[in-house]
Symmetry: C2
Subunit: 592 residues, 2 copies
Amino acid sequence: MPEVRFLPADIAVEVPAGTPIHEAAIRAGIQELELPCGGQGTCGQCLVEVNGRTAMACQTRVATDLTVTIPENRDVAMQVVGESRFLASEDVLPGADRLSPLYRIRRLTVPPASIEEHYSDWKRLIRELGAELPVSAPLAVLGDLAAAVRKEDGKVTLAVEESAGGLRIAEVHAGHTANRALGVAIDIGTTTVAAQLVDLDDGRVLSTHTFYNAQIRRGADIITRIDYARTPERRAELRGMVLETINSLVHEMAADPKSIRAAFVAGNTTMIHLLLGLEPRYIREWPYVPTVNPVPALRADEVGLGIHPDAPVEFAPGVGSYVGGDITAGLLATDLPTNRQDTFLFLDIGTNGEIVIGNADWMVGCACSAGPAFEGSGIRCGMRATEGAIEHVEIGPDCEVHYKAIGGGQPAGICGSGLICLLGELFRRGIVDQSGRFHDGRSFVVAPDVAVTESDLENLIRTKAAIYAACSLILENVGLTWDAIARVYIAGGFGRYIQVADAIRIGMLPDLPHGRFSYIGNSALTGAYVALVSREHRERLAEISTRMTYVDLSSDPRYMDAYIKAMFLPHTDLERFPSVAPILKNQRRNES
Amino acid sequence: MPEVRFLPADIAVEVPAGTPIHEAAIRAGIQELELPCGGQGTCGQCLVEVNGRTAMACQTRVATDLTVTIPENRDVAMQVVGESRFLASEDVLPGADRLSPLYRIRRLTVPPASIEEHYSDWKRLIRELGAELPVSAPLAVLGDLAAAVRKEDGKVTLAVEESAGGLRIAEVHAGHTANRALGVAIDIGTTTVAAQLVDLDDGRVLSTHTFYNAQIRRGADIITRIDYARTPERRAELRGMVLETINSLVHEMAADPKSIRAAFVAGNTTMIHLLLGLEPRYIREWPYVPTVNPVPALRADEVGLGIHPDAPVEFAPGVGSYVGGDITAGLLATDLPTNRQDTFLFLDIGTNGEIVIGNADWMVGCACSAGPAFEGSGIRCGMRATEGAIEHVEIGPDCEVHYKAIGGGQPAGICGSGLICLLGELFRRGIVDQSGRFHDGRSFVVAPDVAVTESDLENLIRTKAAIYAACSLILENVGLTWDAIARVYIAGGFGRYIQVADAIRIGMLPDLPHGRFSYIGNSALTGAYVALVSREHRERLAEISTRMTYVDLSSDPRYMDAYIKAMFLPHTDLERFPSVAPILKNQRRNES
């Protein structure tokens, strides 16, 4: 068999002739090759040097002995995105007296038995626990019980797990010990994975960390990843990647990860399938059903989480293949209107876009193929909202450009919020027309090395059109108009930075009073956190998932019509955007 | 250290000077020594030959090197008592269509998903299962799911565990397979352990076996065993013994014990503590509380049962230290009156005696120290109801004796029913007086080598007095008289053989019309069996245990008075036994 030698690692591997180079790299244990397009040969992210010539690792097959040099600095994907600035809304956090985490240290005093109340040690203990659910325990705990309840005047410290089926006493110790228990809330996004370390005694968030999902090396979006995951080996590879990300996060946050005794996980349906090594293909094959949803409670060792092996792991329930547990968890993190007259719109804009409209009586959820424009993909100078990304742009009357880059240094590219702002400015100044086409030239220079082309703008307009069209159609489906929307929640890591005015100006968000919009940041993580610490919220989460109706817009023939109407700036139907009218008057004045 | 050599096994062991011989035997792995008195030196059952001289192994300590010969045929305790003749009452068996065993093979057809009903494979499966409780599964099952539901037009075979907290799908296979699941119902008595192998598909009992509890080598009654179990090592020893008994039973019944996927266990509170290696001492120390009751569900590997290691093991809940799960299970096996006017009396007479009085509204349970007379202990020629035991006696007018021995051969001793019958006959013929004392002589020869002494009869009278006194007092406590008792259930392996007329004649059972008495045999085993196969019965069992009030008669000063009144034949208060009056007239005639 031909031998492939990888540099600079200097690792050699023998593979059958015909093996693609990137598979040879996997066999050699080399993980640095990114395949954002899933190995379709379209993204060019897996370029390597083969015997001195540049080639795509996913498209080039091994025929004879080869030396493959992998460019350095490829594994940026594992860099820490940084400590998240998004914390849970004070409104949705349970009070410390109402905490009921998945795992909790309880300090009780078991009264002695009497001849009148000759209950067993176990029964007196359960009575003090005040449990309404069935209580179980492993035999080891039963064996420790008699001594524990008699040693320190009935004072005992318990470790108690709580699930939908009941309580489980995992440990019992004599006396009131200082044991503490930690938990972790995890949001697995297609692009980033975020986690919060939580003190399960008082519900405090100890730290929040975010890493890129290591799976992005094998596809930027969920469809590419599902396609990549077509063999058991590749599912195992993707599973290992996301576990590597999560376990690195956990390790970053906790000195002793084994002290983490419970986890609550939110994520879109595909990410949860890939985390668990489950077959994801039916998510994208008609009629688009997941293998498992909701996911029953599992144990950390089954899942592969590097926390305490017996830790219970629960999952936010999804609603459909494209409205997952990240969305139900996100809704949980909001102060959803409880008045049935008040309808809300919930928008989660990330690598995918999900939309929920509802009120106290009903909820309808759908997904739209937002595309990754807002996260920097599909845009030549696009980048994620990190150091060096232009996040705000102003264009003066004489086309002079003022920009603000994250970190204040030399701009390296432009992020989602910068793009939305830029497109609005280009439109306001009449540099582009209502279709997003330049009146003069084919590109616009924002800063040295940062320019946008017409094709970049078209990608962006497609994304905003998809979001707006989906919202309009779902509103139409439920017989409402935009006026009925009392609250708009914008979720997703990206949502934090965009200006509502900018987003309305390009027709991405509806032209409603700005006061009706709320940014709720990474609400999926916040939802996972409150579910981790509160039974009330776990029950509410289950209720949200069962109350929501899932609508598949892709099968609705009216969708294309609504989409095409939204491909203009701000929209074909200008009456929908009265606040944008002055810009158009301006434009016409310029043209005339 | 001195060396002790055991013969005929020829095993040598070094032990510290001062070690009792029976402990040296345990260290040498020799199990044949019985200590029915728990090593108090009172029963003489552990006689061995030490350097040629007879000695008690429990009382003789090792000083120098010794040779100990253990008499052969000592391990009779492990002989099979024989296939039980007691099967479940037809009345209490659930119909096959209402079976809901702890573990069950289910064959379902999962309908395909549609665009309207885009439920996950998991959700469609659960819907077919028709479960009202939460459903869980290990990750391995989730991993098999997508392929299993698509392979054979949705036909799948599941293995489903059911507990109070919900269902757990333990296995999933494509197609409708021929998998079968077995279960075992176990009744752990102080003297005997009985088990039934059950086909969990149709609820059929495949076989019933009974062995002596190997623990009888370390004490004949529960108090002796609790005293013996005072160190962790001894608890481990006792635990190992009963597990050896159960696992031998299981092995006897099932060619492949690993095919047994669920167990339901009934037993008195002490037996259950010893099975689980739990501290039993507080059962016999004021205020007499068990460590654990009810016992939460466990797994076979924790318990040490030699069946499938993951098999769920559930336990009949007890009511108090001396009214255990054997009694609640026994009640479950009866057709308890559902009419609140009909009061029942339930009597379980074995090594211990337990009594329950109640109706559809309330139940009161208590224990009485019946003593082991009915099982042959405390009676010189007493023996268990096996081959060679005299079980029926008739004495003619000229004192000629007619007896019937089990098996029809040469009588070897007399069992409980034989003793009751004999005492009644001795009384009827005026051979003994109302106190059980012989008019002439000090013993009565029933057959060659089988004679009873006054002291034997006194032990028997104590036992019957304890039972009758406890019943009377508990009736008095609830403000009822004997007339109110519509049904008397007599449980316990022993109860099958006694004649109601004999038991009334000696004042053990109340003087009620014979039609009110029912023999229900080993009802604890039957109860364990119906609980194994039916959720309805498990729920009823829990209800019985919570509805029952436990009364500690030993702390009631009136008990001694009632007991002393019952120490006569049939009773001091003759008005209670009108049907026995002719005998007394006869006696007075003889005396006059």
